[in-house]
């Protein structure tokens, strides 16, 4: 069953003329809102009822074990889907009244070996109406009607976790009657009621205690829980669980040895209401609502609608946000790209005015325009570059200083050669740094034929690298 998520849940336990109302929050905090006679409950829980009617909280009561029926059904199919079709018929056979007059649910439907196992829960339609009326008269319109046995079982597991194969008997000693819930591991097996009131048990009436103990033994035998070596956990709850003398008497009648695990639930009087409030707001394997469908509380529908509207608004806003963010991002990219294109266009216009520039070809067209215009411009710019005359002057000075005799010298913008003679081979290399200073690349000096003057004759070539031209 899909449950609407809500932060606040109310559990209402009406039994024996008394009411217990517990509020639970999603942070697992519980608070007893009311614990007293049913007749005085209305004003005390008015605020809670208003919150429920406005869809701000969920309220859950329970169909008693006495007015309902649970059965574990086994369908001889391997397929859960196929088994689902025959489960109503299997339940119908087990019911003492027509299935059509019942509200029923199948829970925990799963494959188990070669068959499908399901827990069937049924209550007569009239009994459900009566229970709803009781809650309405008490002052609380429920959003869900849970099952007493299932609520006690799941809450017992919450309080005391269980080992996978352990058997537990939850005994709820209520004011009106006693409820027995049996299960193995996490599986709920059966729920039974025994019409023995707490007053009768406390009065010391032997027959009442005997009746109850006989019923307990019957449940254990019928459920095949008394296998050799099987230790049964006894979990006591309900208004009578706090009465230690009563518990001791029942345990001694049951002949429970010291090895048996005895558990007493905390605040046993409010445990059922606590369980109902928790189950009102939480999903779970045994979650059930007997008033779903046409009889659902209008507040629930209102809440569902509000959630639906909230979800629609959220997803619409999310879609809008995504669209907006994407549109903004794309617009920003487009603006940035257009701005860069504009700046390129402006630069192109400034570099080559009057040239027809096509988008995407700016650099190519501008470069071509500059190449075409280079003869018009380069004579002007050459004037402001370092003069070859300076190089010439420095070469002559360096030659004089190094006692180099220059016989030929050729100097062009991109190449230079020097032929001459010096005292030593190392002397001719003193011209190289002068060329290097002016951006020439100097090759190794070449030794020429020696003359009659006994000096070293050489030739030196220098060129301008491509990047420096």
């Amino acid at each position: 069953m899909s449950k609407l998520r809500n932060r606040t849940g109310y559990g209402v336990d009406l039994a024996g003329g008394r009411a217990v109302v517990v509020r639970s929050a999603s942070n697992r905090r519980f608070e007893t809102v009311y614990n007293g006679p049913v007749g005085e409950m209305g004003p005390a829980v008015a605020a809670a009822a208003t919150a429920v009617s406005r869809g701000r909280a969920l309220a859950s009561g329970c169909q008693s074990v006495a007015a309902s029926l649970t059965r574990v059904l086994k369908a001889p199919f391997a397929s859960v889907k196929k088994a689902g079709r025959v489960l109503p018929s299997l339940l119908d056979i087990q019911l003492p009244f027509p299935l059509e007059t019942c509200i029923y649910r199948f829970l925990d439907v799963r494959r188990s070996g070669d068959h499908v196992r399901a827990l069937a829960l049924a209550a007569q339609d009239e009994a459900v109406r009566r229970r709803m009326r009781q809650h309405e008269e008490a002052g609380m319109i429920l959003t869900s009607l849970d099952h007493e046995g299932l609520a006690l079982w799941t809450e017992s597991l919450e309080d005391y976790p269980i080992e996978p194969d352990a058997v537990r008997m939850v005994v709820s000693l209520g004011c009106e009657n006693t409820v027995l819930v049996a299960g193995r591991g996490l599986s709920f097996e059966s729920a039974h009621h025994c019409p023995v009131s707490l007053d009768r048990l406390r009065s010391g009436e032997t027959a009442a205690a005997d009746d109850l103990v006989r019923r307990m033994r019957h449940v254990l035998q019928a459920g095949q829980f008394l296998q050799a070596g099987q230790k049964i956990q006894w979990a006591w709850t309900g208004a009578g669980a706090a009465d230690e003398a009563l518990r001791s008497r029942l345990e001694s009648l049951l002949e429970l040895g010291p090895e048996v695990i005895r558990l007493v639930h905390r605040e046993p009087e409010t445990m059922l209401a606590r369980a109902l409030s928790r189950r009102a707001i939480r999903e779970g394997n045994y979650a059930v609502n007997l008033i779903a469908g046409d009889r659902a509380n209008p507040a629930l529908e209102k809440l569902r609608l509000r959630r639906l509207r909230g979800a629609a608004v959220f997803y619409f806003a999310l879609g809008l946000l995504l669209t907006g963010v994407n549109a903004g991002w794309n617009a920003w990219l487009a603006t940035k790209e257009a701005e860069i294109s504009r700046r390129i266009g402006r630069a192109a216009e400034a570099i080559a005015p009057g040239t027809r520039i096509y988008p995407g070809q700016e650099f190519l067209l501008v470069s071509r325009a500059r190449e075409a215009n280079a003869p018009n411009v380069s004579p002007f710019t050459r004037v402001f570059k370092p003069s070859p005359a300076m190089l010439l002057r420095e070469l002559l000075d360096a030659a004089a200083a190094a006692d180099i005799t220059i016989s030929k010298l050729s100097l062009r913008p991109d190449a230079a050669t020097v032929t001459g003679a010096s005292e030593t081979w190392a002397g001719c290399e003193k011209l190289s740094p002068v060329f290097t200073t002016y951006g020439f690349m100097v090759s190794e000096p070449q030794r020429e034929d020696a003359g009659a003057d006994e000096r070293v004759h050489f030739s030196l070539s220098a060129g301008v690298s491509d990047g420096a031209k």
Binding site: G319, L320, L321, T323, I340, N373, F380, T381, V383, S387
Partner: protein, 163 residues
């Protein structure tokens, strides 16, 4: 009924909006790397254009400096060199803006190389200047550091009215 219709219309609208947002996001994720690549390429082009612009500005500034003194003529090489030089005008090239580029060859025979250097310095000091573009020194076997010096010089002169 109307409320139900509205409820589902709202849901459909929200679903459509969300789908549109998701599709748009997917589209954006797909095209963004391409657009960023394109922007980076354009940024690179812009940087190259800026470099070109700097060069163009320098060129324009060079031309402007000549334009500021457009009425001046290059000084006479004959006067600078005297009778010892053989001077020949090689070519004159018409440039844009009414400028003319003159190329002149000057040949010194049996001249000390230092003296040729002094001539070059004097020619370049003129306004507008003569500029040496090529030079060749051939030493005489009789005297070291002296011989034939062949120089190619160029100068600009405003000869027309263009801008």
């Amino acid at each position: 009924m109307a409320q139900s219709r509205f409820k589902y219309a709202g849901l459909w609208l929200a679903a459509a909006m969300l789908a549109a947002g998701l599709l748009y996001s997917a589209h954006t994720v797909r095209i963004t790397p391409r657009r960023i690549r394109s922007i980076r390429q354009k940024q690179d082009v812009l940087l190259q254009m800026h470099d070109l612009q700097k060069i163009a500005l320098a060129e324009q500034a060079a031309v402007r400096r000549f334009e500021d003194d457009a009425s001046a003529r290059p000084c006479s090489l004959k006067e600078l060199a005297g009778r010892r030089a053989d001077i020949r005008q090689r070519e004159s090239v018409q440039l844009a803006g009414g400028w003319t580029l003159y190329r002149t060859e000057v040949v010194f025979n049996d001249t000390p190389f230092d003296a040729a250097g002094d001539f070059i310095a004097a020619a370049e000091a003129c306004r507008p200047p003569w500029r040496v573009t090529e030079c060749q020194f051939s030493a005489s076997p009789r005297a070291p550091a002296a011989g034939t010096v062949t120089l190619m010089l160029e100068a600009l002169e405003k000869t027309g009215g263009g801008q």
